[in-house]
């Protein structure tokens, strides 16, 4: 199981490797959603060269929804990234997967839609398309993840096991719209990464909200941790993604260390545990909830 960490700056490559990262996810201009930093084409060339020196594969984050006008540029960039030595393309939108297949890059492509890959059949379907891998859905139980991971053959299964995960992605620009709605007198805070939504019936719970060129993403209020679960999944999955959004460097490095067996989960949780939960690992969602009056 490779631990895939997000790279924000080229000068931290060695630090992330030391912390426990086996591979790097990098965001790219124009095709990565809610990224902390994006790499320009020339910068990406440098990243790929530096990562190769350290024997660290680089995955390209293609998490933006793709629209028709983006297709020609996406094709060009995927060819460029492949030629420059990118190991894999992690695609949220099936449009990007389709482009990769058309370009003969299916065997470098991981389909990571967030939802959708929720049952045993998904790996078989995408194996038939020649994909390198799929990432299982983020809203299913550990039991379901394990069942999918164990019962596959000929396609890699990956898992987003750690971090501040999104709850939805909209094409709408909710923050800009709200600003327009409130008018010119509304005092707007600086720093778009520091905004949250609070729901009336859930006071004190803060859901990070980020608007960028791709639209708006709304995130869970708690970070996901899977320290125990990673050990269960390790024999069966190829890549374990450690998401980095909203997480400080020291906390991120400590998490990588735990997954790499270089740190203690208890130590991590004693320090940071208040902002973490186990996501849907042991929560099976259904069609109705007793007592939910909405």
């Amino acid at each position: 199981m490779r631990i895939v960490a997000t790279l924000d700056r080229i000068d931290e490559l060695a630090r992330l490797q030391t912390a426990g990262a086996d591979a790097l996810m990098v965001s790219v201009i124009g095709f990565s959603a809610a990224a902390r930093t994006v790499f320009l084409p020339a910068e990406l060339t440098d990243v790929l060269a530096a990562a190769t020196e350290r024997d660290m594969p680089v995955y390209i984050d293609i998490s933006s929804p793709i629209h028709e006008a983006m297709l020609p540029d996406l094709e060009c960039q995927m060819i460029r990234w492949a030629n420059a030595g990118a190991e894999a393309f992690v695609c949220s939108d099936l449009s990007a997967v389709a482009v990769a297949i058309r370009l003969g890059l299916a065997d470098q492509t991981i389909y990571q839609p967030g939802t959708f890959n929720a049952n045993l059949y998904a790996p078989w379907f995408y194996k038939r398309q020649g994909l390198r891998g799929i990432t299982v859905s983020r809203e299913i139980t550990l039991e379901d993840v394990v069942a999918i991971a164990v019962n596959h053959e000929g396609i890699e299964i990956s898992f987003i096991g750690h971090g501040h995960l999104p709850m939805f992605h909209s094409r709408r620009r909710f923050l800009s719209d709200y600003r327009e709605y409130r008018g010119a007198d509304f005092v707007w805070p600086s720093g778009s990464m520091d905004l949250f939504l609070e729901e009336r019936e859930r006071p004190g719970r803060r859901f990070p909200i980020v608007e960028d060129a791709t639209g708006t993403l709304l995130f869970r209020d708690r970070r996901l941790q899977s320290f125990d679960e990673a050990a269960i999944l390790a024999p069966y999955i190829a890549d374990f993604f450690v998401s980095r959004r909203f997480i400080a460097d020291d906390e991120y490095d400590a998490a990588l260390g735990v997954y790499a067996g270089r740190g203690e989960a208890k130590t991590f949780l004693d320090r940071y545990g208040a902002s973490y939960d186990s996501g849907f690992h042991y929560r099976k969602t259904g069609l109705s909830k007793e007592g939910d009056g909405r």
Binding site: P65, I66, H67, E68, L71, D93, L94, S95, A98, R102, P113, G114, T115, F116, A118, N119, L120, Y121, A122, F125, E139, I140, D144, I148, M167, F168, H169, S170, R171, R172, F174, L175, D177, Y178, E180, Y181, F186, V187, P189, D194, L195, F196, L197, E198, E199, R200, E201, R206, I209, L218, R220, F280, R283, T285, G286, L287, S288, K289, D292, R294
Partner: protein
């Protein structure tokens, strides 16, 4: 090419109403695997009856099997698809690859790709076409220009949402309901958490006292875009709303039916004519979605979300007795002698009449009716077909 007008049906009555008022096809949810778990979903027998009704009119019925299946949902899928096949459905609307593959392996029913897959490009359309999909319901996030461009680069059938509710997120990608309410949005349990009340806060505290931040979007209304969408070669136009009322289905279908036919005949009327027809339904506040390009504050639901209809819906005719001249219906809103009622028969022009006689459930003559859900009658000066909509003119 004449596009298909596709309407929602929450039960057999609304199915019949949709088809009689001009829909070319209806889509229904079955007892399992459908995204509207709280809709009064059809049994397999209901679906078979609906298919027979649609086919008698030369129309079609599509069954939604569009949840994102988890492992627990897999057993039983084959049996369900075979049951739909025996019921005679004309297509299955799917979002999960397993449904597509099993439907193709077990039946010859065409499979349409649900908007849950949020197809936004010709590349994705080609992918699904190669996988065996015969029609793609496009993402609701596309502009008219994007739809035109996509349509020019594919030969798969395309279906576009033209009216009704909009998701805040790209469809199929949302897990707010899962996270906040333990209800799986992608398996039919959406709690509509995007329509709850939020406010914007920073690490230093809230920016407002009011919970007035809107994630929820206004409904979609596309009247003025219909001619361009027809000219773009779109195969089917879809109205959203399997949870909506009979009145909504009738009014919305009748409006878009008239508009499509008028455009194809070169006899478009002033837009206000179509807007008046739509206003007969209980529509929420609406906007044009993404069709004109990027959305803005005017597309969001800040504050109230409901338009009040101009006319109170009274019910639809269940029977007409030529001997007594009485039309029977189940009462929805109060009615008194002297009120003016608009009768809108399926496929015919509406007409109005003053209420001269009213009859309570026991057949006695009364001056007013006010108890909802009672089977009552009103004297009408001419024959009214079953499912004629009765609306009080305010």
């Amino acid at each position: 090419m004449k596009p298909e007008l596709l309407a929602p049906a929450g039960d057999l009555e609304r199915l019949k109403i949709a088809l009689l008022f001009g829909a070319d096809a209806v889509y229904v949810g079955g007892p399992e695997y459908s995204l509207r778990a709280r809709a009064s979903n059809f049994t397999i027998d209901d679906i078979a009856e609906g298919v027979a009704f649609a086919h008698r009119l030369g129309k079609k019925l599509y069954a939604t099997v569009n949840i994102i299946l988890t492992n627990d949902d897999l057993p039983g899928l084959d049996g369900y698809l075979l049951a739909l096949c025996r019921a005679g459905v004309d297509a299955i609307i799917a979002s999960a690859p397993v449904v597509l593959d099993r439907a193709r392996a077990l039946t010859q029913i065409p499979v349409h790709l649900s908007t849950q897959q949020s197809v936004t490009t010709s590349a994705a359309a080609a992918f699904w076409q190669n996988a065996g999909i015969e029609r793609i319901v496009l993402a609701r996030e596309l502009s008219l220009a994007e739809i035109r461009s996509l349509a020019a680069h594919t030969d798969v059938e395309l279906e576009v949402f033209i009216h009704g509710g909009m998701c805040a997120s790209y469809s199929g990608r949302c897990t707010i309901s899962n996270y906040l309410a333990d209800r799986d949005a992608n398996r039919g349990g959406c709690a509509h958490s995007c329509r709850w009340n939020y406010r914007l806060v920073t690490k230093n505290g809230p920016l407002t006292d009011e919970y007035d931040f809107a994630l929820g979007a206004k409904d979609l209304e596309t009247l003025t875009f219909i001619p361009a969408l027809i000219d773009a070669g779109i195969t089917a136009f879809k109205i959203e709303g399997r949870m909506k009322s009979a009145n909504y289905v009738a009014a919305t279908v009748a409006c878009y039916r008239l508009l499509i036919d008028d455009h194809l005949a070169g006899t478009l009327r002033p837009w206000d004519v179509y807007r008046e027809l739509l206003a007969k339904a209980e529509n929420r506040v609406a906007a044009d979605g993404f069709l004109a390009g990027p959305t803005s504050a005017r597309h969001q639901l800040y504050g109230s979300g409901m338009n009040l209809p101009r006319q109170d819906f009274l019910g639809y005719v269940t029977a007409y007795d030529p001997g007594t001249g009485q039309a029977s219906f189940e009462l929805k809103n109060a009615l008194i002698i002297g009120d003016v009622v608009e009768a809108s028969p399926p496929g015919e022009a509406a007409f109005v009449f003053p209420v001269a006689e009213l009859f309570a459930a026991d057949g006695t003559r009364v001056d007013f009716l006010k108890k909802p859900m009672e089977n009552v009658a009103v004297s009408v000066p001419r024959f009214l077909a079953p499912y004629t909509m009765l609306r009080k003119v305010i």
